[in-house]
């Protein structure tokens, strides 16, 4: 039964290979020219939002306009590049109370499924590795736009939002009852390869 399923899917794959090679496209996230941002926000005291971002990261995704459910994405973040516009706070964020970048220099997201919704919206499920802990999270994704760029390329941009408790990833520093969760906003423009 199992081998039959495998054989079938191989058959399907080989049959569809010709067309999907045309449709599915690989994109590299445009970090080189910084048309991509990985931002986060945490409430400060419950009175305001504190925003920060990671300056060094890389990403690639595959998106098939005809079959978006086949899409996948992978993002790697250098945790050392955390930037909250305050050097002393960034020092604290890089330290053992938070990201512990000496021990965990990288964070990573690898998608496991892509569930298209309406109006270019989708839910991406995947494994986030942060602070040495890997957990499944869901990212609500929205396609912002796609098309030719003025310099001969083709681009597609998405924005994804998710949130999780820092404690779920072993970051136990207590910032107060309203500041247990961090929201992440990933704004990624991919250049088709």
């Amino acid at each position: 039964m199992k081998s039959k399923t495998l054989a079938t899917s191989l058959l399907v794959a080989s049959l569809t290979f010709g067309s999907s090679a045309l449709m599915a496209a690989d994109y590299v996230v445009d970090t080189k020219d910084a048309h991509a941002f990985i931002q986060f926000r945490v409430q400060h005291l419950g009175y305001s939002w504190l925003y920060g971002r990671f300056n060094d990261f890389s990403g690639k995704f595959s998106y098939d306009e005809a079959a978006p459910e086949k899409s996948s994405i992978e993002v790697n973040i250098e945790t050392n590049s955390v930037d909250s516009n305050h050097a002393e706070r960034d020092k604290h964020l890089r330290g053992e109370d938070f990201l512990n970048v000496d021990k965990y220099p990288q964070a990573k997201f690898v998608s496991t499924s892509f569930t298209p919704g309406k109006d270019g919206k989708a839910v991406v499920k995947g494994e986030l590795t942060l602070h040495g802990v890997t957990k499944t999270i869901e990212i609500a994704v929205e396609s912002i736009g796609a098309g030719k760029d003025p310099w001969g390329g083709y681009r597609h941009g998405f924005e994804g939002k998710t949130q999780f408790a820092m404690a779920d990833f072993g970051i136990m520093k207590d910032l107060g009852p309203k500041s247990k969760n961090v929201e992440m906003i990933l704004s990624l423009e991919g250049i088709r390869q």
Binding site: N80, N85, H86, A87, E88, D90, K91, R94, G95, K173, D174, L175, G176
Partner: protein, 181 residues
């Protein structure tokens, strides 16, 4: 007692500066260790560093004046009973203390000014940033600051142990001179 040092006695200014700097260094070391461990909601979380930086900057100017004063009126010559190796080591330790204190202040300054923020001294005046381009400047300077501060406390212990040795073992005037006798 006179203001200036003589060949046999420390003057009032040198003695006052010695103990003022010593007490302040110990205070800042303790405050520094304590304030970096505080809970975010502790009322000292902001006030501790503010006090530490303000006092640190004032200590820097005090130390500059102390060095100027030492050059202007050199400390009394060593006692005849001091051995040559004692004199050499004690001089080296003292020079190293000055050097380390200056480097600790420089590194502390580089932490707080790493992203072009200035250091506020008691809401009185502020010290502007200058060097801001060292990679991970706040982290690197913070590490140097802690390591050198621990080094100074080690050297001070040596310096104090030597003074006590002169007082209790050799029973000479070395320690008494720096308390004005």
């Amino acid at each position: 007692m006179q203001w200036k040092n003589s060949t046999t006695h420390f003057g009032l200014i040198a003695i006052a500066l010695h103990w003022l700097v010593a007490l302040t260094v110990f205070g800042l070391f303790g405050l520094g260790l304590w304030m970096t461990e505080l809970d975010y909601y502790d009322s000292w979380y902001k006030q501790g560093p503010w006090l530490h930086k303000s006092i640190g900057i004032l200590l820097f100017f005090t130390l500059l004046f102390r060095i100027y004063w030492r050059l202007l009126t050199p400390p009394p010559v060593g006692l005849a009973s001091h051995k040559q190796w004692e004199a050499k080591i004690s001089y080296a330790v003292q020079l190293l203390l000055y050097l380390l204190l200056l480097l600790i202040m420089l590194s502390g300054y580089l932490i707080s000014t790493a992203d072009n923020r200035s250091i506020d001294v008691f809401n009185w005046f502020s010290i502007p940033a200058s060097i801001t381009s060292i990679p991970n400047q706040a982290d690197v300077a913070g590490w140097v600051h802690l390591v050198l501060a621990s080094g100074v406390i080690g050297l001070v212990s040596l310096h104090a142990a030597a003074a006590l040795k002169h007082h209790f073992v050799d029973k000479d005037q070395t320690l008494k001179r720096i308390i004005g006798k």
